[in-house]
Point group: C2
Chain length 342, copies 2
DNA sequence: ATAATTTAAGCAATCGATTGCAGGTTTGAA
DNA sequence: TTCAAACCTGCAATCGATTGCTTAAATTAT
């Protein structure tokens, strides 16, 4: 690579026989520069193909106009939609986004966070990995004076702005729907209980059963079934029980629900008549399976926009300190064929 | 937000009564520092929760260890997989990724590129938007001495490193497969011919027909059918013809093929017996539709890794200038139910 | 015509880390 | 014992943009 020398404000200054200060002021549209010279500077800058060195600028200003986002997986529909939502707002505010994925690894999550702190981003938005129970790296973000916003999967004990789904309520409604459809033995595939979202979903499940006086059967609750493969495995076990369930709620994801559907089909269970299936997240594919899968939409893009707006609101009133608070978005049950037997 | 003062090397230096130079050297593990002091410095740095200011460091070094990626859409399977592939390599090399999406808008693509130039990224990886025919913004990247790597959708006239699919060959094989299955009137949904990939796919289509002496019928070639909606619309038109096609190749994407499938099904055409459907990109959902959709896999993650490796190879031999060249990855036909009628 | 004010532009320090050069000390070889 | 090599460490400049302060010039008010 040719080490092409880039144009700096000094080059422009030299060419016009003025100082870099004036060039800088002109480029920042300060009104402490003569209109004529300003025009001349702008014109020369364009001619020389000048591009501001943001490194220098940011170093001086102590602000990078950059938001870092850490998600478990970029290519999971929910997360990519949240990112799209964030981007919509940040783009209009001329902010940059640095996107990192933790791949569900705690160790990598920490590395990402540290990289973002090093980068002096103005804000970090995170949904934590499945792994890990220690969140001192998040505290560290705060200690460095960086605004932290958690979403979806949040560490309760770290007090920050949080944007979450009302998982419990959504699950409650979903299970109620299953009961309405006449399902009586409803199994739950649960995610790691270290994560708030999975605890809340379980809670919604239990409350719905309780309300309808349906007994909670331990063998119908399967831990850690949060991938397609684990969902499939769990289903194989469940459907081989002497008294198998007549519905399975894959509380962790639609991927898990997909695993359920495939195993159920291959084992000859008719969906939805003999087995109801309910997923979570409204991945696009849930519409395409046969039968299509009932699921819960999280308004992911809207969540992203909410997150970004929250940041800009807060950063505007610098004087007052940030009050940790939680914004809860109510998800929506999307009823499809896999649970419609009436 | 509290404007917490961050620890700098000067703070460490002051505390230990040495100079910042030594601290810097110790932190960079230079061997020009006494082992004992080095240890002491590292210990103190950890105690003070020191985080290197990459802005300052990069400014000084003129290198950011950051690669910028510009894609039309982050949440399209092909692109998110390429990104995942890139990330795998860059992560291991301790490089950062800044990901931008153009949303298929030329104007936004230019803004992204300029933002990345401002950020002084070391390399820009891009797959261009559907919109646009002027690629001076890419030339501009090169003029700023930034390594540019194009992939998939490339601007032929800009000489850079390129990583592409052999679209023509892949299409040729796909169409040959259709012919083998006995399809005779094969329609083509083509993408904007401004993009190389769509031109190549059309070329493969034409060559395959020619080779088998099948006449090319103009009314079976539909321009600009590159979204699900446009694919659906095109299909409605095609299947209403006096002599409708018996197969449709959605050369633009699986989304388009999905539109074809939905319309065909709703119009009562049996797939694959009465109508064969072929997509492009091997989106995960193609496996889930009924019938499942035959498509072409592009080894997207592998492409991503190839791109990143290419960059690191090139950056290692700084002395020699980069020779523009093209690496072609051969995609693979995935035969599924939607074209299997034998 | 002179003082007061406004406007324009320069000077120089600053952000934090890096690094070539130089000075000083220690070690080892002759 | 003397000199060279090896090893540490400090000094000061540098990366490029920004900005408070100052000075000079131009404009307005008195």
């Amino acid at each position: 690579m040719k080490p092409k020398k880039r144009t700096t404000i000094y080059d422009i200054a030299e060419k016009l026989n003025i100082t870099a200060s004036s060039v800088s002021r002109a480029l920042n549209n300060s009104n402490h520069v003569n209109e004529e010279t300003k025009k001349l500077i702008l014109k020369t800058a364009a001619e020389l193909n000048y591009k501001r060195n943001v490194l220098a600028s940011n170093l001086r200003k102590g602000q990078t106009k950059t938001i870092g986002v850490v998600v478990p997986r970029i290519n999971q529909n929910f997360f990519s939609n949240v990112i799209a939502g964030i981007e919509e707002t940040t783009y209009s505010k001329n902010f940059n986004l640095i996107i990192c994925q933790s791949n569900e690894s705690h160790e990598k999550e920490i590395k990402c966070i540290n990289a973002l702190i090093n980068q002096h981003v103005d804000c970090i938005v995170i949904s934590v990995a499945i792994e890990g129970t220690d969140y001192s790296h998040l505290q560290n973000v705060i200690d460095h004076g960086i605004q932290l916003i958690q979403f979806d999967r949040v560490a309760d004990e770290i007090e920050t702005l949080k944007v979450i789904n009302d998982n419990e309520q959504a699950t409650f409604e979903a299970i109620t729907h299953l009961i309405d459809q006449g399902y009586k033995r409803i199994a739950l595939l649960e995610g790691p209980q270290t994560l708030n979202i999975f605890r809340q979903r379980k809670e919604g499940y239990l409350k719905a059963l309780n309300k309808h006086k349906i007994p909670v059967i331990d063998e119908l609750i399967i831990e850690n079934a949060w991938t397609k493969e684990l969902g499939a495995e769990a289903t194989r076990k469940l459907l081989s029980l002497p008294e198998p369930p007549d519905a399975i709620f894959a509380s962790t994801s639609d991927f898990s629900a997909l695993g359920v559907l495939e195993v159920a089909t291959s084992m000859g269970f008719k969906v939805p008549t003999e087995l109801g299936i309910l997923g979570y997240a409204n991945e696009p594919f849930t519409e395409l399976t046969s039968p299509s899968i009932t699921t819960i939409d999280q308004f992911s893009q809207y969540m992203g926009k909410t997150i970004a707006n929250l940041y800009f609101q807060e950063s505007e009133n610098k004087d007052t300190t940030v009050v940790p608070r939680t914004i809860s978005v109510k998800p929506k049950l999307i009823v499809r064929a896999s649970t419609s037997r009436k």
